[in-house]
Symmetry: C2
Subunit: 219 residues, 2 copies
DNA sequence: ATTAATTTTTAAGCTTACTTAAATTTTTTA
DNA sequence: TAAAAAATTTAAGTAAGCTTAAAAATTAAT
């Protein structure tokens, strides 16, 4: 399917949260940076393709087929983000920009390869869920910040909640990457510091860092 | 620039080898699977953009600007091939198919990240040269087949010249991957076998394999 | 409950990247 | 070298994905 169509169903899916009116043509148009007229036009076309239900002046509603398409694109976007982040040490800002294009030119075959390579993660580096091949989503993110972890337990890094270049470089240099495994060796609760072991290195992190590094239980 | 334009200049560049007539609109049209009329049309448009020189009934000639664009796309194509091949153990056939799409949606920034990650290789897994960022090409491939290597020397794997699934799986399992380093420990010239060391494993390969595994000197 | 403001739709038009059909030019061949 | 074949160009037309402008409907405000 074309890039325009994929972006359209994706925008509807993403706007479908709070207010019903958020999926009206005008709001989708605003999100995509196109005119209202273009959005109405596209809505009619997609209704003919059975991707959404269109009724004059009403909010747009994705059909099952439309939602599947949206989830498929979102899956590819988030897999690329996770992959670029981990493989090339790119910041959260950079990976989003690239994934926005790559998502449309990725076969299901390649998406599965990326997913397997990453260990089929359920969440991307932003903490957003990655739909599986069938379009199923795990909604509850069990990630916790490093400051809330327990001594002696092993975790997998799930998020580095920052776009600060220095923080990011520090993480990359020390193997603190999305998907990598760490061991919490000591919690200095009084000083709000956490000691971890990664790749046989011991690192002591202060509050500034332990609050923005998120991890998942290893089981 | 659009996908159609990128593919057009790429097709001209790739056809510009033997016969001058190979870059006439009809031959480009055939290569791209479009009508001759469409090719003529596009040629005129690209001439207006100073990407090629167009004269009625004559072969199409890329300008410097057009050639740079072609080389940039080819660079991205081959970097993706090399990367997918090494990272996901995909066959030469599979990587080509994916790269054909990804090449158009890859920023120069990401292309450089991929190149750095691979160690800025000069040739892709098919043995085709990878232009550098400036569009410069190393034309002479110094690869030799494993059967022609010298005992005691270290090499970098540059090509696995086959699309046979079994051969490919064998290579992947044993770390015989594009870009990986190996040590030739013994040449059994009489039996036409080669013993190599890779990742602290010793593998004995017969003629069938040593003839289709290509390597480069490590210097 | 009107009026005003906003949103949605319709209508007409544009660009890109194609198509087919016919006209023109070039190339081949006898 | 003239006729036949092939390639190229021109012309007209199409679909996708937009635009702006005006009409119609909905929503908000007084």
């Amino acid at each position: 399917m074309s890039v325009a169509i994929e972006n359209f169903v994706k925008a509807i899916y993403k706007n479908n949260n709070n207010d019903v009116n958020d999926t009206k043509p005008g709001n989708i148009a605003k999100k995509l940076g196109i005119s209202n007229a273009a959005a109405t036009d596209m809505a009619k076309k997609l209704a003919a393709k059975n991707l959404l239900n269109y009724e004059k002046y009403q909010a747009l509603q994705l059909t099952n087929k439309g939602e599947k398409m949206a989830l498929n694109v979102i899956r590819k976007h988030r897999l690329w983000e996770a992959f670029l982040h981990k493989t090339f040490d790119m910041t959260l800002h950079e990976i989003h920009r690239e994934a926005e294009f790559l998502e449309h030119e990725t076969s299901d075959f390649l998406a599965n390869k990326i997913s397997d390579y990453l260990g089929n993660p359920k969440f991307d580096p932003h903490g957003d869920p990655i739909p599986n091949e069938k379009g199923e989503i795990t909604t509850i993110d069990t990630s916790i910040s490093l400051s809330n972890t327990q001594e002696g337990k092993q975790y997998i890094i799930s998020r580095l909640m920052s776009d600060d270049k220095e923080f990011f470089d520090f993480c990359a240099q020390n193997g603190l990457k999305y998907g990598n495994s760490i061991l919490v060796t000591k919690q200095f609760s009084k000083n709000k510091m956490t000691q971890i072991s990664i790749n046989n290195n011991t690192i002591l992190l202060n509050e500034d860092f332990t609050n923005i590094i998120y991890v998942n239980d290893l089981n």
